[in-house]
Symmetry: C2
């Protein structure tokens, strides 16, 4: 299992409730790909969402986000952590 | 105190040792601005570094990163977390 950060842009003014709903949609199906989203953070002023996940591959993270309705091309494999 | 994610680009091929050194330079002076960097993650293939911090302000995070020699314009205030 590896660790991934994915970044979503354009989420200006998103509320806690909306983030919770989007994150919940991921959590509901994540196990089907062996993914687990540990955190989702939002900066509503700059419209950015960061998700930290453990997963078998970048593609698995992408598939869950796609199926949950919020795909992103920005997925980073965090092979180093300090 | 608020939570912040900052993003550094162009760190292609950076090693664990280099990240550790850069992160160490932040940790050494962070208390002077009331900042604490909790994590630093690196994707050496895509050259991205993500730092998660608690701090009194975005400016405080920036000042520490500037003084440690790795400023960034990408600092996000994570006012929502789920």
């Amino acid at each position: 299992m590896a660790k991934f950060m994915d970044v979503h842009s354009g989420f200006f003014g998103t509320t806690r409730e909306q983030l919770d709903q989007a994150h919940g949609a991921d959590l509901k199906i994540e196990a089907e790909e062996g993914v687990h989203f540990e955190h989702a953070w939002l900066d509503p002023e700059q419209g950015k969402v960061f998700c930290l996940a453990t997963a078998p591959s970048k593609e698995a993270v992408l598939r869950i986000h796609e199926r949950a309705g919020h795909p992103t091309e920005e997925i980073y494999e965090l092979s180093v952590e300090v």
